[in-house]
């Protein structure tokens, strides 16, 4: 079934057992993002250790795609430098915009390539990006908070 491309095992696993889904109280920055068309919400915090991402933690409600994507993203980016994280995020964004024509760079994106199927469902791309956009926002804020 075509739908299986969208709902890969990995995604349902992350949906059932979301990683890092507990907000910490000592974040350098915390943001709240919503998807206005469906009401999905995510609150996401970032803690830095120099240039390194020490923690990404979050809470939220939403569909399996938004929840799994956020969960996968945290697994993937924690421990990376901000530069590495931003490169990976770019790759993920690119994959989401590929309309099903790409499989994704498994070396860089790891589990996140399981979301490649989303790119064929334009209405769901925003779901997959919700957590990533929140991270981008939070990491910029955390970085500039540290700088000042």
């Amino acid at each position: 079934m075509q739908l299986d491309n969208l709902y890969q095992e990995v995604i349902l696993d992350h949906y059932k057992n979301p990683q890092n889904k507990e907000l910490a109280s000592d974040n350098d920055a915390q943001v709240h993002h919503v998807n206005p068309s469906c009401g999905d919400e995510v609150t996401l915090g970032v803690k830095l250790d120099g240039e390194k991402i020490a923690s990404i933690n979050w809470d939220g409600v939403g569909c399996s795609i938004s929840q799994a994507s956020t969960s996968i993203m945290t697994d993937l980016l924690i421990g990376k430098t901000l530069t590495e994280a931003s490169e990976i995020s770019e790759k993920f964004l690119h994959l989401m915009q590929s309309k099903g024509s790409e499989e994704g760079d498994a070396d860089a994106l790891e589990d996140a390539v399981a979301l490649a199927g989303v790119s064929k469902y334009p209405a769901r791309i925003k779901c997959a990006l919700l957590g990533w956009m929140a991270f981008k926002d939070a990491s910029v804020q955390a970085h500039s908070a540290k700088e000042n």
């Binding site: 075509q2 739908l3 969208l6 709902y7 349902l12 068309s37 795609i65």
Partner: protein, 415 residues
């Protein structure tokens, strides 16, 4: 002539196509927009092919014909809702209609009966579509008037118990929906209208979800203004209706200004033509008006009572079948008393988006999310729902497909 949805489907060309690799289209999203019968498409096409010209502006034959069609469309819509012809105003959508009345009230100078100021109150309900909520929030902000509202009970009904403290002597306008696009609830209007008129307030009825599905006669209802969208009542996109009682339209200031709505114009000021012209600035959506007229005539031929009866039948069937599914929670009334065919529900921990996506893979089109009624979702304690909404072309087969789809989704996501 008995009501035959299978025959009716044949009037709608979209049902000749299939979804996701050959699946039959089960369209359960008429609450968002309805499909179009061929006669509606033809009416638009004929306008362009044969009679296209700017109405009211030319003395040539095409302009005469276009004017006849456009004013004839106004007559058809007026007949459909029991209005006088000059009370029917073509807008682009219900959203525009609701902005029209709220902006026009904002334009009313001191002394005009629609003038609002600090100390005045606007009343809405918790079950409004954003289109009948935000314009009033904005009007309140602009004028200093306060905004208050009727609450919704856990069963999805308006709580009228505090009616006298919700609608007070300060209330100038009460804006509410006739039928909720989420809950399916049909609101009881009598008490609200009586109370509103007692305190001298006007009633604005959002009839987007009622005019397509049940007999609506503006005079019988006793409301003051009424709005609906063409695209939900089998009509084209890009056309809506704003209706008002003629003596009120005479006093209401205009909203959009420009060509064709004027009496005289100088560099420093202008005076207005009488309604409906006063509210129809510019070259109007003529082909869409023609299409909307074809739509309401199509429905009248079938009989709006028959459409309604059919929908009640299907709604009852679906509600019963759904009540048998464990973990399915209907958000809204669970029986067909004062209830239309918009059925919103949640289903265990399968998120509406995922359920909707699964149903789509089976050819079933539903809507998921907050349905432009975010405050209502919060009130009902659900971040989002899945909504199946019915219309005259739906069949028991469609209902069965939905029920099967829901059950299959459980298996799919439970794997």
């Amino acid at each position: 002539m008995s009501f035959d949805p299978v025959a009716i489907r044949r009037d709608f060309p979209i049902f000749d196509r299939t979804i996701r690799d050959g699946k039959r289209l089960v369209y359960l999203d008429s609450g968002a927009t309805s499909q179009k019968p061929q006669v509606v498409i033809d009416a638009e096409v004929d306008f362009y092919r044969l009679h296209n010209a700017a109405v009211h502006r030319g003395a040539h034959q095409l302009a005469e014909e276009a004017t006849d069609i456009y004013e004839g469309a106004r007559q058809s819509v007026a007949a459909f809702i029991g209005a006088d012809i000059d009370e029917v105003i073509f807008t682009k959508s219900a959203t525009e209609s609701l902005n029209l009345i709220s902006y026009a009230m904002g334009n009313a100078p001191t002394g005009n009966r629609f003038h609002l100021k600090a100390g005045d109150a606007i009343v809405v309900t918790e079950m409004e579509h954003h289109a009948n909520l935000i314009p009033w929030q904005q009007l309140a902000a602009r004028t200093g008037a306060s905004l208050s509202w009727f609450e919704v009970t856990p069963e999805g009904r308006l709580d009228l118990s505090k009616i006298d403290s919700v609608i007070t002597e300060k209330t100038k306008v009460v804006a509410l929906t006739h039928q909720s696009n989420v809950l399916g609830t049909i609101n009881p209007l009598e008490a609200i209208i009586a109370r509103a008129h007692e305190v001298g307030a006007v009633i604005v009825l959002d009839a987007c979800q009622s005019v397509p599905h049940m007999a609506v006669d503006v005079k019988d209802l006793g409301v003051d203004f009424l709005t609906f969208s063409g695209h939900k009542v089998l009509g084209p996109t890009g056309v809506g209706i704003f209706w008002g009682r003629s003596e009120l339209l005479a006093e209401l200031p205009p909203f959009l200004t420009g060509g064709s709505m004027i009496e005289t114009v100088t560099m420093t000021g202008a005076t207005w033509a009488p309604a409906p012209r006063k509210f129809e600035a510019g070259v109007p959506n003529m082909a869409q008006a023609a299409g909307l007229a074809a739509a309401v005539k199509y429905i009248s031929n079938i009989g709006i009572e028959n459409v309604h009866a059919h929908e009640v039948l299907l709604t009852k069937y679906l509600l019963e079948k759904m009540s048998e599914i464990e973990a399915l929670r209907i958000v809204g009334p669970t029986n067909t008393d004062s209830r239309g065919g918009s059925i919103s529900f949640t289903f265990g921990d399968i998120h509406p988006h995922d359920l909707g996506q699964f149903l789509d893979s089976q050819g079933i089109a539903v809507r998921t999310g907050h349905h432009c009624a975010w405050p209502l979702n919060r009130k009902m304690g659900v971040p989002a729902t899945t909504r199946a909404s019915l219309y005259l072309y739906n069949t028991l087969e469609d209902c069965d497909a939905l029920i099967a789809g829901i059950n299959d989704a459980q298996k799919y996501f439970g794997r």
